[in-house]
């Protein structure tokens, strides 16, 4: 294994380069733009492809050995989410709303990152377990629901026990708009969207519906039924992902301006926490027997923060949280960091963990000395 080649083959790809082109375009104030209809359609398409292939693989492999990985993934996801919250609330001094919202975004997973991970593994000719698509679907809602539940618990508790303390929670909120002439009485704060509502919104969110639906369809139709749509739902995946990454680059370019506003703590968080989660993910995945590719994908899921599906739930579920914080850090910092730095690093790490012999370190150093 040639580390230089890996890094090269992970960064100098159409995906990453077009993503960077999108960023550059925004920074030089270009009017380059992927029309909304296209960029709203692409995630649906990408998830359909991911789902179909997951379903096809599961039909081949069976789902006997997917129970353990799923349970482990859910457990880790919950632990990480709670850990995020503690870090943000204790060390970062964020208010409870922002702390839970950011914790949820980083606890949830990104389908775009997953897509780039699949593409990366394909370039490296590394297979991965088909049920990773199921884990993607399962992990998405877990930490969202957890955090929304905890926020509601915390409000209710405060409202009941001591009336003046809840008041403090509110003044605690850093981003309460100051331009409102109408005082918001704490007693009237609506209880942050009822849990039922949130469960409904999360589970019926388009990402989960199309992903789970496609997994089932893939499983039912099998390779035979898949043939007639293979061209569109397999071969066009990377081209479509390229287009989507142009748009993501454009939006990232817009968010970069807000990164400073996010503050030093959140910037460090956006790099350190994914790295930690990613490493833990790879180690645990290797331990429970996932392949090199599967471990990279699961590590990437833990490392990734959701910037499409989660924010759209969080904005109403934890409405007192500042969306600028979780979107900016997830899309503006963590996503590019994961794609460019962490993904190849985790792949090298996973390869080493699985079989140290494959990593040709000597060649690397010899090459370096030339």
């Amino acid at each position: 294994m040639d580390i230089v080649a890996i890094i090269q083959s992970s960064i100098l790809t159409p995906l990453i380069l077009f993503f960077i082109l999108g960023i550059v375009a925004t920074r030089i104030k270009s009017d380059l733009k992927i029309p909304d209809a296209i960029s709203e359609f692409l995630p649906i398409y990408l998830l359909a492809v991911i789902g179909l292939h997951g379903g096809l693989e599961m039909r081949k492999m069976g789902f006997d050995n997917m129970i353990v990985p799923i349970l482990v993934a859910v457990g880790l996801s919950v632990a990480m989410t709670l850990n995020h919250y503690q870090i943000l609330r204790r060390l970062g001094k964020f208010n409870i709303f922002d702390s839970y919202a950011i914790a949820a975004a980083y606890g949830s997973v990104g389908a775009t990152s997953f897509s780039v991970g699949l593409s990366f593994l394909k370039t490296q000719n590394q297979p991965s377990e088909g049920f990773m698509a199921v884990i993607l679907a399962v992990l998405e809602p877990v930490s969202l629901i957890l955090c929304v539940f905890l926020v509601n618990m915390s409000i209710t508790k405060n409202q009941k026990s001591k009336h003046y303390e809840t008041k403090q929670i509110l003044t605690d909120v850093k981003q309460v708009p100051s331009d409102d002439s109408i005082a918001v009485e704490i007693g009237e704060v609506r209880d942050e969207a009822s849990m039922k509502q949130v469960l409904q919104n999360t589970m019926a969110g388009k990402a989960i519906v199309i992903l789970l639906g496609s997994i089932i369809i893939g499983y039912v139709i099998g390779e035979g039924g898949f043939q007639s749509i293979k061209l569109g739902f397999e071969d066009m995946f990377f081209p479509a992902l390229v287009i989507f990454l142009i748009e993501m680059g454009i939006i990232t370019g817009q968010k970069l301006e807000d990164v400073k506003k996010a503050g030093k703590f959140l910037i460090i968080f956006s790099v350190a926490v994914p790295t930690f989660n990613g490493i833990v993910g790879v180690v645990v995945s290797t331990y429970i027997g996932l392949s090199i590719g599967g471990s990279v994908l699961l590590g990437l899921l833990f490392a990734s923060a959701s910037f499409i599906a989660a924010p759209s739930v969080l904005r109403t579920a934890i409405r007192k949280a500042n969306p600028g914080l979780y979107i900016t850090s997830a899309l503006g910092i963590t996503f590019p960091f994961n794609m460019i730095v962490l993904l190849p690093a985790m792949f090298i790490f996973s390869t080493v963990l699985h079989d140290a012999g494959t990593l040709d370190l000597s060649r690397y150093f010899v090459d370096g000395l030339k």
Binding site: V176, P177, E188, R190, I251, Q254, F307, K320, P323
Partner: protein
């Protein structure tokens, strides 16, 4: 052809608040409403460029003055503090008053 005086309430807000506002309108038995996607700029910055969630919605409802104040009050109380939003009221004339009762 006589025109009857009635009120037009307009709300420009971030997309995620749309559901709440429609709920308030329907709770107050407004007879109908019209809405569409817009972009904008205000105290919460430029909105409507990229992500779905950062779009703005403009909602318009023709309604009787009695309902107007109740609705305005509820929107102000439950939405103003958490979302990017602007509301304003217009005097208009309609032909079929009974459509908006």
């Amino acid at each position: 052809m006589k025109l009857y005086a009635i009120k037009l309430l307009t709300i420009v807000c971030e997309a995620p608040a749309q559901k709440n506002i429609i709920e308030i309108l329907e709770k107050n038995n407004v007879s109908g409403y019209t809405f569409y996607e817009v972009r904008g700029n205000g105290s919460k910055g430029i909105r409507g460029q990229g992500l779905q969630n950062e779009k703005n919605i403009k909602l318009e409802a023709i309604l009787q003055e009695e309902k107007l104040y109740r609705i305005l009050e509820e929107i102000a109380r439950t939405i103003f503090s958490d979302y990017a939003i602007v509301t304003y009221v217009n005097d208009i004339g309609v032909i079929r008053m009974e459509k908006f009762s």
